[in-house]
Point group: C2
Chain length 201, copies 2
DNA sequence: CGATTCTTTGAAAACAGTCAATCTGTGTGG
DNA sequence: CCACACAGATTGACTGTTTTCAAAGAATCG
């Protein structure tokens, strides 16, 4: 059996839209024609603090992180985005103001970008897209709220355990220190937790 | 000059919709006709863990909290809703599954409820309502994300300070112990922080 | 290999939680 | 009106968790 070994990376987005939304084939094509692929090398910024975020960004390949840097130089990661995830700064996008966050790539990545005005136009023209974006936003909200709940009710160890359950794919691709940052604990604490739990067995 | 001393409590919702949305007078009336007012006494539940949440709930008067109770019996408050705020459990609402949360009143309150199927129908019929709900959801998402950011990047004291800045109205109406719970710290710690900061002056 | 990045470890200090007792204010019923 | 109960806030002593700082140990990559 002959298999096509190389799948154009944009297919990731096509497949995503086809399986997750009610969009027709031609609507999917319209959406894809409205944006463009951007390659982001490891350590390269997609957004820097002070910039304005004007895109919808879907990760086709690789891994991005969204984070802030405080006065002491500590990074605080609020979001990871692997393939099939969205990234961006919604606050800046909505308000048009400058961003407090940085987004950069943890691996060589490829993302699909659609500029805000273009995307808004599409949402108006394609009801199924509008519905999809809404449903997505609902799910995102619920996810962030769950994260709040875990955050205010759990110890460092519990937070890590839940992270492992919820995002096992991330464990292998994201450096431990960054997971610690995402959880709001130090890398040293996370290291000790992991060591601890492996001894317990 | 003669003034009407008593404003029907539903006016709170009318005013809210008129000032915050693009809805026409008649659309506002349609929406109001689609729901009903419910009085909730202090300590009374509006939702209990295990129930399914099927409403959109706008607070006309009083104050509600959404919280979970863990194995040890500790309460973890994820949301407060004063007048002009929405309350509810979006996860249960969207999925139709049972809720992990309780909602109860901290004061004698009045809320405006619109059942899910009715509300969904309204959203389809009234584009301005749909747009408004979306914009609201966007803002909510951004707010929760900011809360995450504060949570993972701040000490107990900083969290409290930000809470005070952001929600000064709540300080006078919500017991301190509950604010502590919302922040993910103990009531004793919050008490000491407050004492500490007042000495510092 | 050398350089860089990431992780681990140790010891001390800071921070926050626990438990129990006390204090304060409020509202209720006798 | 007082006494009492109750909810909420405070305080102290103690414990436990997490951070900090510094150093050393893996792992990765060109």
């Amino acid at each position: 059996m002959i298999r096509i070994k190389y799948t154009a990376v944009i297919e990731v987005f096509k497949t995503y839209l086809k399986t997750k939304s009610q969009l027709s084939e031609s609507e999917v094509d319209t959406i894809i024609a409205a944006g463009h692929i951007k390659k982001v090398r490891k350590r390269q910024y997609l957004l820097q603090e002070g910039d304005v975020w004007k895109y919808n960004c879907f990760v086709l390949k690789g891994c991005l992180r969204t984070y802030s840097v405080d006065e002491k130089g500590n990074e605080h990661i609020i979001h990871f985005a692997l393939e099939n995830w969205w990234a961006g700064d919604r606050a800046s996008y909505e308000s048009g103001g400058t961003s407090l966050y940085n987004i950069d790539a943890l691996e060589d990545s490829e993302v699909f970008l659609i500029a805000k005005p273009v995307f808004e136009k599409l949402c108006k023209e394609i009801p199924a897209l509008n519905d999809f974006v809404n449903a997505l936003l609902h799910r995102s909200f619920i996810a962030v709220q769950n994260r709040i709940h875990t955050n205010i009710s759990s110890s460092a160890e519990e937070k890590y355990k839940r992270f492992v359950e919820q995002y096992p794919q991330m464990l292998t691709r994201i450096p431990q220190g960054m997971i610690a940052s995402y959880l709001g604990i130090t890398k040293e604490t996370l290291s000790r937790i992991r060591n601890q739990t492996s001894k317990d067995r």
